[in-house]
């Protein structure tokens, strides 16, 4: 409760206000000068072995799952990135020199798979030199162990989609100690099958995790009970038997993970560093403060600070956006009872797409850390943009279909009907062209993107109401739905793409996001031609399959394409090298190394053990 003031009280208040003003001036304008963390440039120095590198995890990301079979709710990118360092998959996605992601990495645990019998069978041979940390060789039976666990517990596996792995494997045939064959339910496109279906297959240590002949359900249950004991991830003997380049030294409940090299690792990519520390942060702000104080070797900055990248370059860092193999879009809910009839009109979606100035948004709002999305596959695979920013074309499309401006400046349907030059099915005379967008909050860049789109729509007579909610609320609301369901009336358009709306595995197929009934087909897009083209990408290895699918959907505009932001704008110390920012968001710290200058230790990572 406010107390009555005295004259002294008033003076105190005035003094406080003056003090606040002064403090604001000092805080915003007169920060301390930061010393450079290294005097090395971005490409000088001599490589050295050893050292500790500290990397920041994304904001609010706390690693909490070590078991290499992800349970629902534990599929976060940072979890799988760490698991793959301990239990590498048979095939690892990697970007080639032409910017495409392939599965032909030299760090693959298996040789290139051989497809036969009309692509109905696939034979895989493991590289023979891999061993578990206890010295036991890695065998094909360890892969069968993974398959048995998945098949017996598929509903507890977060990566399960009906009719796909393991349903599409009729038989797992062991051919020898290091080779096996999968008999599939039909012929598949080899590229799609390896990238989308085999990416999760990995050898697991049957000898350490299961008794002979033990029921896979019982084994899985036991492993799950261990996997839920976060405080024992670094001490439980179960997780000590690994085969990847790293092993866990420390894993705290607060999310700090320390990895040290696995001395028995037999792959070609042996670690150079002594230790890698992955540090969690509750917010991007706290991470930024630690980064500025020199407490991180590998961190990130908000896109808005890109304009100040020179500051980081002067203090010994390089700034490199980490582009993802993904696409970003606004999802229109085609089943919304109110606006569904509007959005189901293809000309309308095309007009709205022509009103989004992706190039300017990427350049000015995302400060160059985003790239336009051109269709349903990453931009590198698209051969054109059928709907670049063209407000005049958008206006022509709308007026050409019977829309006229009302007194409030918003378009209204003047020519109802389904004929040429008319508004379309389900749109009555006088219907306002007004939409509501549920967008994720917490990002200046996303808010500004939506502000720009709203402004552009408004100029063309389309009213857009933007409602911002936290990401989890948006994700919980923008779900696939039927028109009669209550949730379908609760959202008209949705945006959840501050870090990209969809990140692909190596093969950017669309069965999950645009096929009828797909688990992540939030907008309820259903089109027989799209379904046919998606099936073709799954079954046929003809390169035209993916191209035809991409062209068709780019023209149909099932969602409104918006700039695809970088996963993060990375800031890396100049003396930390070998950092390859894989677009599928995997980590490979075994490739990292420090450099020193003129035979002397670098400022941080120089000699063995430096900086620990």
């Amino acid at each position: 409760m406010r107390q009555p003031r005295t004259r002294t009280g008033g003076r105190t208040r005035r003094a406080s206000i003056a003090g606040l003003l002064l403090a604001a001036l000092v805080l915003t304008g007169c920060g301390p000068k930061v010393e450079a963390v290294t005097d090395l440039g971005a490409d000088e120095g001599t490589p050295v072995e050893g050292g500790t590198a500290t990397m920041a995890l994304p904001p609010a990301a706390t690693p909490n799952w070590i078991f290499p079979i992800g349970a629902p709710g534990y599929l976060a990118t940072h979890n799988s990135a760490i698991q793959n360092l301990l239990y590498p998959p048979l095939f690892t996605p990697e970007e080639n020199k032409s910017g495409k992601v392939t599965m032909d990495s030299p760090r693959n645990v298996a040789e290139k798979p051989r497809f036969s019998d009309g692509n109905r069978t696939v034979t895989i041979t493991l590289k023979k030199h891999y061993r578990w940390t206890d010295g036991t060789p890695v065998t094909a039976d360890d892969v069968r162990f993974w398959f048995e666990l998945i098949r017996a517990n598929k509903n507890d596996w977060g990566g399960y989609s009906p009719k796909l792995m393991p349903d599409n494997v009729k038989k797992f045939e062991l051919l020898g100690k290091h080779s096996f064959r999968l008999h599939l339910d039909r012929g598949y496109n080899p590229d799609w099958f390896v990238a989308s279906q085999m990416e999760s297959i990995k050898p697991l240590p049957r000898h350490a995790w299961s008794k002979k002949g033990e029921d896979p359900k019982k084994v899985f249950k036991r492993l799950l009970s261990h996997a839920k004991q976060l405080s024992k991830f670094d001490s439980d003997p179960l997780w000590k038997t690994t085969m990847g380049p790293w092993r866990v030294e420390k894993w705290t409940t607060s999310g700090v993970v320390q990895l040290v090299p696995n001395k028995r690792y037999a792959g070609p990519d042996k670690p150079h560093l002594d230790r890698v520390v992955l540090k969690p942060f509750t917010t991007a702000g706290s991470e930024f403060n630690v980064l500025r104080s020199g407490g991180l070797d590998y961190g990130y900055i908000p896109p808005s600070v890109m304009a100040q990248s020179e500051h980081f370059k002067k203090t010994g860092y390089r700034v490199e956006p980490w582009d993802s193999w993904g696409i970003t879009y606004i999802v229109p809910n085609l089943n919304n009872p109110r606006t569904g009839p509007l959005i189901r009109q293809r000309y309308l979606r095309q007009a709205l797409q022509s009103l989004i100035d992706q190039k300017s948004v990427a350049e000015h709002v995302w400060h160059g850390s985003a790239q336009p999305t051109l269709g349903p596959v990453p931009a590198a695979l698209m051969d054109g943009n059928p709907f670049p920013y063209d407000p005049a074309k958008a206006r022509r499309l709308l007026t050409g279909h019977g829309w006229k401006r009302g007194d409030d400046g918003t378009l209204r349907c003047a020519e109802p009907g389904t004929g040429e030059g008319q508004c379309g099915k389900g749109i009555g005379k006088g219907r306002r062209l007004a939409l509501e967008l549920l967008s994720q909050s917490g990002s200046t860049e996303s808010s500004n993107t939506m502000q720009e789109i709203k402004s552009s729509f408004s100029r063309a007579g389309v009213s857009l109401q933007v409602r911002e909610q936290p990401l989890n609320t948006v994700l919980g609301t923008t779900v696939p739905c039927k028109p009669e369901e209550l949730v379908c009336s609760q959202w008209e358009m949705g945006f959840f793409g501050t870090a990209g709306s969809w990140i692909f595995p190596a093969d950017p197929s669309g069965e999950k996001i645009f096929a009828s009934g797909g688990p992540s087909n939030m907008g309820n897009w259903s089109d027989p031609e799209t379904d046919r083209l998606i099936k073709r990408t799954e079954y046929s290895d003809d390169p035209s399959a993916l191209r035809d699918y991409a062209r068709h959907l780019a023209r149909e505009v099932p969602v409104l394409w918006t700039p695809n932001p970088a996963y993060q704008v990375s800031v890396i110390r100049n003396d930390l090298r070998g950092v390859d920012q894989n677009p599928t968001l995997t980590l490979a710290p075994q490739d990292w190394y420090f450099v020193k200058k003129n035979g002397k230790s670098g400022a941080r990572g120089g000699g063995k053990g430096a900086g620990q």
Binding site: I17, L20, L21, Q308, D357, H364, T444, E452, V466, R467
Partner: protein, 326 residues
């Protein structure tokens, strides 16, 4: 004064006592109520003159009034003389420094003219702040007066509700409510007023406890006057000093609440703006050196809050009878 009233009556500003004292001692013509109804009605012309004289002697209060008048003129009259488009973005003009391309205060990160936006945002902040502050004061005053005058179980129930509401951190409540509903001006006014009324309610309740035992109230009751008349014709008019002083602080607090909520991302959606949301988006660019996105809205908030506080201090002195000279 009753024993019950004693501990709380001291919470009220002395201004309330001033009117009552003037009336009781018959210092001013008609102070006892020109209508002859005891404490009914408030200040006489000479009392108003004396109040104004004390207020004008307080230089900071005058400065506050001047600053407030200037800010009101800037926000509400400024757009008539300085025309800008505050609806459509212009990315080609984004983040321009002050003075460039006809933008005296530069542009925002989506190309709005900063000076025009400051006027535009000020309208929202002042409108919401004034309305929420006055609404909270009005409701809290009536609520407190009813509780204090009737006493007994009415007071106990009403005040326990107030205590319970006070126990919930206001900011937490604001964030939760604003996250559920889509913020708009009327919604923001209601949300802020719904947490801000608690303070005036407790304050006026203390006043009412003191005033209800005055002779003129007893006289009115003996003549057959009801509770409503007592509250609205005797208690509230005699607590008007406390109410007015408190209203100025409530308005200042409400403006700060608007800024808090906007800073937490719970502002009225763009293209609408308020000083808090402008400051919030400006802070994103602290490291880039875009000072013009931070200082103008920040200073505007400080100025308007300080102005209301100075005016409040001046009014408190003005209602203090001990500082008034005949």
């Amino acid at each position: 004064m009753t024993a019950e009233a004693a501990p709380v009556s001291g919470e009220g500003p002395v201004g309330s006592g001033a009117l009552e004292e003037a009336g009781a001692l018959g210092k001013g013509p008609g102070a006892a109520g020109g209508s002859g109804a005891g404490g009914e009605s408030g200040a006489t012309p000479s009392l108003a003159r004396r109040t104004l004289a004390v207020f004008t002697r307080n230089r900071l209060a005058l400065l506050g009034a001047g600053v407030l008048a200037a800010l009101l003129a800037f926000c509400f009259l400024g757009p008539f003389f300085y025309h800008t488009d505050q609806v459509h973005t212009d990315l080609d003009q984004a983040s321009l420094a002050p003075g460039s391309h006809g933008h005296p205060l530069g542009t925002t990160d989506v190309g709005y003219d900063m000076l025009g936006r400051l006027m535009h945002g000020g309208q929202t902040s002042l409108e919401v702040g004034l309305a929420a502050g006055l609404l909270a004061t009005l409701f809290g005053t009536v609520y407190g007066a009813v509780a204090g005058y009737f006493g007994g179980w009415v007071d106990a129930v009403l005040m326990r509700i107030t205590d319970a509401a006070l126990a919930i951190p206001a900011l937490f409540l604001l964030v939760v409510v604003a996250a559920i509903v889509t913020p708009s001006k009327p919604v923001l006014i209601l949300i802020i007023a719904s947490v801000a009324w608690l303070s005036p309610a407790r304050l006026i309740r203390g006043e009412a406890l003191s005033l209800r035992s005055r002779d003129y109230v007893h006289a009115m009751r003996l003549m057959g006057g009801g509770g409503g008349r007592a509250v609205f014709r005797h208690i509230l008019p005699n607590a008007v000093g406390t109410v007015i002083v408190n209203a100025t602080f409530q308005i200042a607090d409400a403006i700060l609440y608007v800024a808090y909520l906007s800073f937490l991302g719970l502002s009225i959606p763009p293209p609408a703006a308020d000083w808090g949301s402008m400051l919030s988006s400006g802070i994103t660019y602290t490291q880039v050196g875009y000072w013009w996105l931070i200082f103008p809205p920040g200073l505007a908030i400080v100025l308007v809050v300080a102005a209301f506080n100075f005016i409040g201090d001046g009014l408190r002195d003005a209602f203090d009878v001990r500082l008034q000279k005949n």
